[in-house]
Symmetry: C2
Subunit: 318 residues, 2 copies
């Protein structure tokens, strides 16, 4: 019983029960029971987040669960899947106030409504350490239509959604290292925007979400597809706030992570369809380079066409 | 990037990739893609475990992941579901040695083979705190056949599988508070035995797994079913090791948790079928009492028919 919060059941009833969807059995049984959507494949992703590592101790509880949920939804978006439901585990210190749970659940409620999914189950435990969370998100996709990292071909364009670097800069802004007068960068760190709703099947030859840093993630996609890449740094879309931070922060933007944008490989023949889909879904998409046949080629160019080197610990691993 | 273990990808490839099953995409993509079994419902459960709360710092890494997996499999067993796959999140200190991961994954490999499921995905992160794990397990069941906590009726027998109390005693044995010469109690704490493989559809009117303590979990089942319960303490099956600990430990056996046995409601008309299934599956099942109509009745009797009171913090909550 020391393994459980003393009032775990009341706590679940008070804050989480209203999040429960069809099949969740009111969060009061041993497991959820769902009927999978007919003629669809299931897409499933799990992420963990730890206080002080993935979010800050001062982050509002309202955003913490949403960030976790959105990180998982970004994985679904990268597979071209539609969200269905999620499970969440919450390990918090025993002294965590009720208001923390209220804010945490209220944030999840907002995002459930916005993204169209519901809570299926989970677990609530105490921890002697920092808050530790995990979520598993289920989605669905037409059979065979899931986008993977493995389909990029030489000649395909490299595209990204939205703007790159805001999340990493937002972390520095929250630490007081960068000015962030209107809080835009901080909000991008605390509440990423998963790019659900783009119909990319038949358009993208490969896709992944950018969570570990654009260049590292591009290297993963190249390795999975057996190709190389050439990227024009000047074409990488950055927000007005990121540009205002100055050119010294460009390397961090390209490698910092926490973007939760999509990285796409798109053959030239599908670029017109991609731009039409970008306009329809109102998701900005930019071409930042191209995939090349040589898997050993991984080049970043500046505006003058000079090769750039990004000083970044760990970069040599990739 | 500080959000990831420096060598996360190598680590996943080295230890976890061999656990990956069909649809896991080699653990190298954003999510798993699985085709759900035809004409089945999905059963999904998630649990979290924290070092120092759910397992001990000295527990061998080989058992830690297995305990987590088995706790979830016990939830599937309680729903009458067959296992399909699981996702796991692992948050560990940066200094965690490679041998820890090797032992952790080797334990999971054993249990995957034994219980017939495979790894679909997950996440590996660092934490400044204690090891924090979560797992989500997917199973499947014939449509409408999932057992819930809500179906017990007055007159149904209360049954439990296996023996009760070993896990809670095992924790005390590992702390040196109880003798455990052959390590049986400790092994029951570290490696619970999920009661998969019993065909209970059409036999049990309600089921749940015993994880928070027999009496508390029975109270949950009563509340979900709108019935009361009368339990004969002397009929609650205890192992030879638990009986050898002496009568002073009986209250802990009844309330201590970590049993991962099944608690069943079975109408008299199905008792013969239950006993036949118990023999077929070679899972011992004992009748310990009966459900009664009055939801306010929750009674425990000793061998002389006297009402027993169990001193247990938190008991008044239920």
């Amino acid at each position: 019983l020391e393994a459980r919060l003393p009032a775990e059941f009341e706590l679940i009833a008070r804050h989480f029960k209203r999040l429960a969807g069809q099949g969740a059995l009111g969060l009061a049984d041993d497991a959820a029971v769902i009927t999978p959507p007919a003629n669809r494949q299931l897409v499933i992703s799990a992420d963990a987040m730890v206080q002080g590592v993935h979010f800050l101790p001062d982050d509002p509880p309202n955003t913490i669960g949403r960030k976790l949920l959105r990180a998982n939804l970004s994985d679904l978006a990268a597979m071209g899947a539609d969200p269905l439901g999620y499970l969440i585990t919450v390990s918090v210190p025993k002294a965590t106030p009720d208001a923390w749970f209220a804010g945490f659940a209220a944030g999840l409620a907002e995002d459930q409504a916005h993204f169209g999914l519901s809570l299926l189950g989970g677990d609530t435990t105490s921890t002697p350490g920092p808050i530790s969370l995990s979520a598993t998100v289920l989605g669905h996709v037409a059979p065979g239509a899931a986008l993977t990292r493995a389909g990029a071909r030489a000649g395909d364009g490299i595209f990204v959604t939205g703007t790159i670097g805001d999340g990493a800069l937002g972390l520095r802004a929250l630490r007081g290292e960068i000015a962030d007068p209107d809080g835009f960068l901080a909000s991008r760190y605390q509440l990423p925007q998963p790019r659900l709703g783009l119909a990319l099947a038949g358009i993208a030859s490969a896709a992944m979400d950018v969570s570990d840093g654009l260049l590292q993630d591009l290297a993963h996609l190249c390795r999975a597809s057996g190709v190389g890449a050439q990227v024009q740094a000047a074409l990488v879309p950055r927000s007005a706030a990121a540009r205002a931070a100055g050119p010294a922060w460009l390397p961090l933007c390209l490698t910092g992570g926490d973007d939760y944008e999509l990285l796409l490989a798109v053959p030239a023949s599908a670029e017109a369809a991609l731009l039409a889909e970008s306009a329809r879904a109102q998701v900005p998409i930019m071409r930042i380079g191209r995939f090349v046949a040589d898997p050993a080629c991984f080049e970043l160019f500046d505006a003058r066409g000079q090769t750039m080197t990004i000083p970044q610990a760990g970069w040599s691993h990739f």
